[in-house]
Symmetry: C2
Subunit: 250 residues, 2 copies
């Protein structure tokens, strides 16, 4: 078997944030497998096959990629951001774990990328300057109680909290419930940022505090960052305030 | 004032993991400011000034960079990894907050990079496939009790835990204490990875479980990843096992 499988992420959007390693893998692949909206972000190359699928079909997509690699193809599975952060990497390894034994002999490589959370943080200043956590608000695959327990633990312990998968048509109420829960623990003035499509042409960033954050508009492309008690703002003579967490925040 | 300040990270080491945006900023800067070991990783450029400083002098280094930018220089502050994750970004904003009012009018930009935690995760498989947190074990700027409270909260709530600043000559016992604490909460078989200098020539990765992790050797360039109850291994016919966290882990 000479096929191989590379799992990569396109970064937050701007191609200047995509690593040379990822670019090389994209151009060497014989087959690209991914959610259609991600594949659309990759320039076409003659002779390269594309296998686009709908959002949400991660395991089926992972199995398709593994079958292609088993047939000797050089497959790139295309995620957004970093493929290991709520991207395709976990789905591929789940598919291997529960799939054909021969898949364990395949050459599989994961390429790190710039995750949305770091692109958002960079835009704001240094909001991840101390201990932080990353939580998916999706309750498609874990009970909502688990999400709540994690948010409560993180806020009480003083972590900055980055929220992924905050809202979709099928999950309209979870973000409001999460902000309510966090608002019951954190001071009312705790900064909350809604960051939409960072580094893309329709980028939009809104700053709230936890008491007013329910006003924010969110969809599938929004990341929400909730500060800690130590998060600070720096007001500037022009432009939005910078946000940072001191390194020693306790 | 036409100076500007860019805060960037070199990624984990391999230049193929450095973004084009960061490369461009490095070549446009008139002055590079950073820890000497990081500046040594940047190819020299004629006419570009270098201001190397010792590790640990972050605020002094940040103030130096801000002064240079105030004088009209185009300054790049050079961190490793992503500059917002225990890198120089937070120190620069702390220095602005408590420094010259004029510094708030400077053009300051943070460029995201590939953090060590994502490079390590990619090497292992998909260990950050569900909710995770990032904790610095340094008690230089926060009480050790706070570190312990955060580790306890994270382990009890089911986060995968990435540990930064795990050991130095001045902080020899903290990692052992942290692993003891986590070992009292997590099942004995929970995977723990010691990842040293990932993507660099002296990369070394060791897999333990939480019961035996005290055997691992760590220094300033080691990142330690502690799995959750849901973390799984995939044994392969050849090569090290893959490690992943299922997306839905509860």
């Amino acid at each position: 078997m000479s096929g191989r499988l590379v799992i990569l992420g396109l970064g937050p959007g701007d191609v200047a944030l995509r690593t040379p390693q990822t670019d090389a893998a994209l151009s060497e692949a014989t087959d690209l497998v991914g959610y259609g909206a991600y594949l659309d972000r990759v320039a076409p190359r003659a002779g390269q096959r594309r296998h686009a699928s709908d959002n949400g079909a991660e395991i089926a997509r992972a199995r398709q990629a593994l079958r292609l690699a088993s047939e000797g193809r050089h497959v790139a599975v295309v995620s957004g951001g970093d493929p290991g952060v709520f991207g395709m990497a976990s789905a591929v390894f789940e598919a291997i774990k529960h799939g054909e034994p021969a898949w364990r002999a395949l050459e599989v490589q994961v390429l790190p990328g710039v995750s949305a959370v770091f692109a958002v943080a960079a835009r704001l200043g240094a909001p991840l300057g101390h201990d932080f956590c990353v939580v998916s608000l999706s309750d498609n695959r874990k009970p909502w109680d688990v999400v709540c327990a994690r948010l409560r633990a993180a806020a009480q312990a003083g972590f900055v909290i980055a929220l992924y998968n905050v809202a979709s048509v099928a999950r309209p109420w979870q973000l409001g419930a999460a902000l309510d829960l966090l608002g019951g623990i954190l001071p009312a003035a705790t900064p909350v940022v809604f960051a939409h499509a960072v580094s893309r042409p329709d980028e939009r960033i809104e700053l709230f505090d936890i008491a007013t954050a329910a006003r924010g508009q969110a969809d599938m492309r929004t990341l929400v960052l909730v500060g800690s008690r130590e998060t600070r703002l720096i007001v500037r003579p022009s432009g939005p305030a910078w946000i940072y967490a001191p390194r020693g925040a306790a």
